[in-house]
């Protein structure tokens, strides 16, 4: 077995993907980080202090973890969902009674979404109370606040999609708040958001597109900047 694995690790195919040997020396451990697309966001060495779990409580990392969970479960949910009235609601019922593990999939997406709002907020508090917003990290703090706003918007746009009473009235209450923006701006914004004056099928399609495409893409771009800046400002 060992022999076979050894042959594999030295084969041209393996080496074309992973240009370094097994991480058995500090040199190859460093190469594991900086030759890997996903890991190269990290430096090859980190301060021992930053490994301590209570240093950051891992809140930022876990927020990203929740985003991954939400992307995976969300993608699967999209397979069973039609953003139209009344099919959207019947698709919820299908998830509940027809689709294998459909209810579990939806539960996972729902609870992860709630958890992410809380997690990102807690991450912001941790960053504040440890003073980690101080220069040179001030711009990254601002990006972080925008990410919090995006997280809330993502959760909010997803809230309408089941098209049940909870969804409909939750969104009606929220968009009525936006109507209060003065100089007729609120009316215009709410019309733009809903594609009409009331929460209807147009609103469902718009929220669907915002939830599944526009906001996640914006979030990915901001997250890229956020993580990159963390590294550039001396973090992990």
């Amino acid at each position: 077995m060992k022999h076979v694995m050894g042959r594999l690790y030295t084969s041209q195919l393996w080496r074309s993907m992973f240009r370094h040997g097994l991480p058995d020396s500090n040199r190859t451990r460093a190469e594991t980080i900086f030759y890997n697309f996903f890991l190269h966001i990290h430096p090859t060495k980190v301060r021992k202090r930053s490994l301590r779990y209570t240093y950051t409580w891992g809140l930022g990392g876990l927020s990203f973890g929740l985003f991954i969970v939400l992307t995976v479960t969300g993608g699967l949910l999209m397979l069973y969902y039609r953003p139209s009235v009344p099919q959207a609601y019947w698709d919820m019922k299908d998830l509940q009674f027809v689709v294998s593990s459909g209810q579990f999939l939806r539960n996972m997406h729902r609870w992860a979404a709630h958890a992410m709002v809380a997690m990102v907020f807690l991450h912001m508090l941790r960053v504040f109370y440890t003073g980690s917003y101080r220069p040179p990290k001030e711009f990254n703090w601002a990006v972080g606040v925008l990410l919090l706003v995006l997280t809330i918007l993502l959760s909010y746009t997803g809230y309408l999609l089941p098209w049940d009473q909870l969804a409909f009235w939750g969104i009606s209450v929220g968009t009525n708040m936006a109507r209060a923006i003065p100089f007729g701006l609120g009316e215009k914004m709410s019309f733009l958001l809903l594609g009409g004056n009331i929460v209807g099928e147009n609103a469902l399609v718009r929220f669907y597109v915002l939830h599944c495409f526009i906001l996640p893409v914006a979030g990915c771009v901001l997250m890229g900047i956020h993580f990159w800046r963390v590294r550039k400002d001396g973090g992990v």
Binding site: R29, I152, Y156, A180
Partner: protein, 232 residues
């Protein structure tokens, strides 16, 4: 090399990058030699990240097996639930709307909160690490009492006790180190807190109180309802 320049260098070749600093004797600021213990990111950090992620997924899966996501009847524009509630993270805002006119509660206050959060690091006062009562104690006291007084009067006029009580409570904690200066203990720790710490804490307490009230204590017609009499 000039006479008043002196070369200092680290000879520890294992550390990189090697820094060479030229310093004048007169220079006040010394180049700090930091020698924090470093470890390899792989496997130390990467493995920890993976474990944290896996634990999180397990917890999520267990929660998802036990608790079902809510699903009510199909949306019906003709049938308004009483009360109609937004998602929980907006219930603090909805609670504000109960007290203030929509422009204030739904637009101005939340917009101010987001803007205030973004600009935090751009103001010197938020960068300061000194405790609130470190210098200009009398002046600080006057400014504090006047600003808290104005806010309290506004809150009282609008009958926003849900914000008034936390505001007064946080202010009392702020004043504690002024009237009972102590070196250690809780008061000692409080006296080391800068102004920005106090403002953020006040903000967080208000957010938590309003969200909790909106989520658990509001029933039909947005009236006060104890959670044991049913949550809406």
């Amino acid at each position: 090399m000039q006479k008043d320049l002196r070369a200092e260098e680290t000879s520890d070749a294992r550390k990189s990058p090697t820094r060479i600093a030229f310093m004048k004797h007169r220079m006040a600021a010394r180049v700090k030699r930091e020698s924090e213990e470093m470890v390899m990111t792989f496997p130390n950090l990467v493995v920890r990240e993976l474990i944290a992620f896996e634990i999180m997924v397990i917890v999520l899966a267990v929660v998802s097996l036990v608790f079902d996501a809510p699903l009510e009847w199909m949306a019906n524009p003709d049938h308004t639930p009483n009360p109609a509630k937004a998602p929980w993270y907006f219930l603090g805002l909805q609670e504000l709307l109960h007290y203030f006119p929509p422009v204030v509660g739904g637009v101005i206050l939340p917009a101010l909160a987001v803007i205030a959060l973004i600009v935090i690091p751009y103001f010197k006062i938020n960068i300061k690490r000194e405790g609130l009562w470190k210098e200009n104690r009398k002046r600080t006291l006057v400014i504090l009492l006047v600003s808290v007084g104005i806010v309290s009067i506004v809150l009282f006029l609008f009958r926003v006790y849900a914000m008034l009580i936390p505001t007064v409570a946080v202010t009392l904690f702020m004043l504690l180190p002024y009237f009972y200066p102590r070196e250690d203990g809780v008061v000692g720790r409080l006296s080391g807190r800068p102004l920005s710490w106090w403002i953020m804490t006040w903000f967080v307490v208000i957010v938590i109180v309003l969200t909790t009230i909106g989520t658990l204590f509001r029933g039909p017609e947005w009236s006060w309802t104890w959670p044991w009499n049913g949550t809406y």
